[in-house]
């Protein structure tokens, strides 16, 4: 590997790690925050008789963001629910071909979903729709979809590059299930 290529890899892996950490921190932070918020809201309602009327709505829309950003984390950790029966009967070379083929299809899917959900965001933004309780711009909640599919697409490209480089792609078919 020449120096320029090494620098490129170093640059990318640094960005990758920073992005990964940001995604993890976001989804974990949002889950911790919303748990505490709803708990606090029960206390406020019973003890102080003054619940926060926006707590439910904020929790709902944060959860939408958790789902799509978490979707990207799941692409990176090969954690999405899939039926991984076929790789069990394939040779390791075919398994790698399958993984690459599947990643290409997924990439097309993320591109299409990015395009249509992005259009939806722009449309909602131009109408100026707001959320029912907080009156926040509604497009900010829909934005989770294009952002999520962009991140998922990015992770898929990353997987493709990594798999294309790796000699053997052992373990790429393994999915991680802990729900």
């Amino acid at each position: 590997m020449n120096a320029a290529a090494a620098a490129r890899v170093g640059w990318w892996s640094g960005l990758d790690r920073a992005l990964g950490a940001a995604e993890w921190t976001f989804i974990g932070g949002a889950l911790a925050f919303t748990s505490a918020l709803l708990f606090l809201n029960v206390i406020l309602r019973y003890v102080f008789l003054a619940p926060l009327n926006w707590a439910e709505e904020l929790t709902l829309y944060l959860m939408v963001w958790i789902v799509f950003v978490g979707g990207s984390v799941a692409v990176r950790t090969r954690g999405h629910i899939a039926i991984d029966l076929l790789p069990l009967v394939l040779s390791s070379a075919n398994r790698r071909r399958l993984a690459i083929g599947v990643a290409l299809v997924a990439l097309v899917f993320f591109a299409v979903f990015f395009w249509y959900s992005g259009q939806h965001v722009l449309r909602v933004r131009s109408i100026g729709q707001t959320t029912p309780v907080m009156g926040a711009p509604m497009w900010l909640t829909y934005l989770a979809m294009p952002v999520g599919s962009f991140l998922m697409g990015l992770r898929t490209v990353q997987f493709l590059v990594r798999t294309a480089r790796a000699r053997r792609a052992e373990g790429v078919h393994l999915i991680d299930l802990h729900d």
């Binding site: 989804i27 918020l37 799941a74 029966l85 979903f113």
Partner: protein, 431 residues
């Protein structure tokens, strides 16, 4: 129309077979089918995906996942195991029965059966082998009993059903107690009989002192189901708030009382839970778009129509609904199964005079069994990964338990009093 159905089925089968993530298969199939067979602009589809998530009751799922993970990592599963073992460990098949009852109790803090395999099976599977049980029995009992995780309240399947069918999640939760008892009784009976038949050595009875000690240890953890059920039933809070409260309670018990988790450990559990929730809810979003596809293209009506002719006979309606759920459950996950089939079936079910809670518990038990039906039962893969055994060995081991589960399902379906008795005591008018 028939052509559309064929196209949809072909795309689903192909996508699933080549190991594409299931949410991509569902959304992708919907996009292709809409583009080819309807004039509907594709740009409205993301909105339907989003709408699938925009439901406050569904929000209970991530919090229940989080609370159960805290309890699992924070030492509660090991304490429940010790507690149950001191109570039933001395019976013939005692360790097998310990697995069943522990899964039932762990089910009272978790809403998923996959997490029950990991939390309970991880501890008891090696213990079963040490005590002289065969590998096949040990694999089977931990994988089969884990179904109780989604039957005993809280239950992620019931939350999704409640959101789709508009049924009371509280009443559904209560009906899970009776249905869970049916399962636990049948499974325990099988453990007893199997151990007698195979002459598994019987363990000595625990002393009263040990019983007292383990009871004290488990006491705090079992406060959680009390909060969840008591709070929802008492109208103190919604199921979603109950879930959030149980997160805070679980964090308190595991960090302050049990002292098995520090803040760093808690944060790691939080990250895992957020990821697990994203994984589940993205499926829910995808399945609701898919369900929209079935409705708009008229497939829902076409499938529902022959079914509707059965409405004069509730028994037949239940039988056919059960068979449909079982067949689809062999191929798709719990949440897609509910989101796709319930809207198709609910009209006829209501017309036949079957109550929404009765149908809810039947549905929940049935889709849960889909977790262990080959070829694509999710828990078969989870067990294969957790215990490092070949997939086919897991399938073989699970078969007798699958039979028992189907027997329990038949009882839950045709003796509704067993599961509806408890919710009826609390919510008048529940059917």
């Amino acid at each position: 129309m028939a052509l559309t159905l064929l196209l949809v089925l072909a795309l689903l089968a192909l996508g699933l077979a080549v190991t594409l993530p299931m949410f991509i298969v569902l959304i992708g199939t919907a996009f292709i089918a809409f583009a080819l067979t309807t004039p509907i602009p594709l740009s409205i589809l993301p909105q339907r995906v989003f709408a699938g998530l925009e439901s406050f009751p569904l929000l209970a799922i991530p919090f229940f996942v989080f609370a159960a993970n805290i309890m699992g990592k924070g030492g509660l599963s090991a304490r429940i195991v010790r507690f149950i073992q001191t109570l039933v460990g001395h019976l013939p098949g005692g360790l097998g029965i310990t697995v069943v009852i522990t899964c039932a109790l762990f089910g009272a803090i978790t809403g998923s059966s996959a997490s029950t395999i990991v939390a309970v099976g991880g501890i008891l599977y090696p213990a079963l082998l040490n005590a002289g049980y065969t590998e096949r029995f040990a694999l089977g009992v931990v994988t089969g009993s884990a179904l109780l995780g989604m039957i005993i309240p809280p239950s992620n399947a019931m939350i999704v059903y409640g959101a789709v069918a508009g049924a009371s999640i509280g009443a559904l939760f209560m009906s899970g107690v009776g249905a869970g008892a049916v399962f636990a009784a049948i499974y325990s009976g099988y453990c007893y009989g199997w151990a007698k038949w195979n002459r598994i050595p019987v363990a000595p009875r625990a002393s009263l002192r040990e019983v007292w000690q383990t009871t004290r240890e488990v006491f705090w953890g079992l406060g959680m189901p009390a909060i969840i059920l008591g709070g929802i039933y008492g109208g103190v809070f919604t199921a979603t708030e109950a879930a959030a409260v149980s997160v805070v309670y679980a964090a308190f018990v595991c960090t302050v009382v049990y002292r098995e988790l520090d803040l760093k450990g808690l944060w790691e559990v939080c990250l895992d839970s957020a990821l697990a929730s994203a994984r589940i809810l993205i499926m829910v979003a995808a399945a609701s778009l898919f369900s929209y596809l079935l409705t708009v293209t008229g497939m829902t009506a076409a499938i529902a129509q022959p079914f509707a002719e059965l409405k004069g006979s509730p028994d037949k309606v239940l039988l056919v609904a059960n068979l449909l759920f079982l067949v689809t459950g062999m191929f798709i996950d719990v949440f897609s199964n509910i989101l796709i089939l319930v809207p198709i079936l609910i009209g006829t079910v209501t017309a036949a005079g079957i109550g929404p809670v009765h149908f809810g518990i039947v549905t929940s038990v049935n889709v849960d069994i889909g977790n262990v039906t080959p070829p694509f039962g999710l828990n078969l893969f989870v067990a294969s990964g957790t215990f490092d055994k070949p997939y086919l060995a897991v399938v073989r081991a699970v078969l007798p338990w699958l039979g028992l589960a189907l027997l329990s399902l038949a009882i839950v379906t045709y003796v509704p009093e067993l599961s509806l008795w408890l919710p009826k005591q609390m919510y008048p008018g529940v059917r």
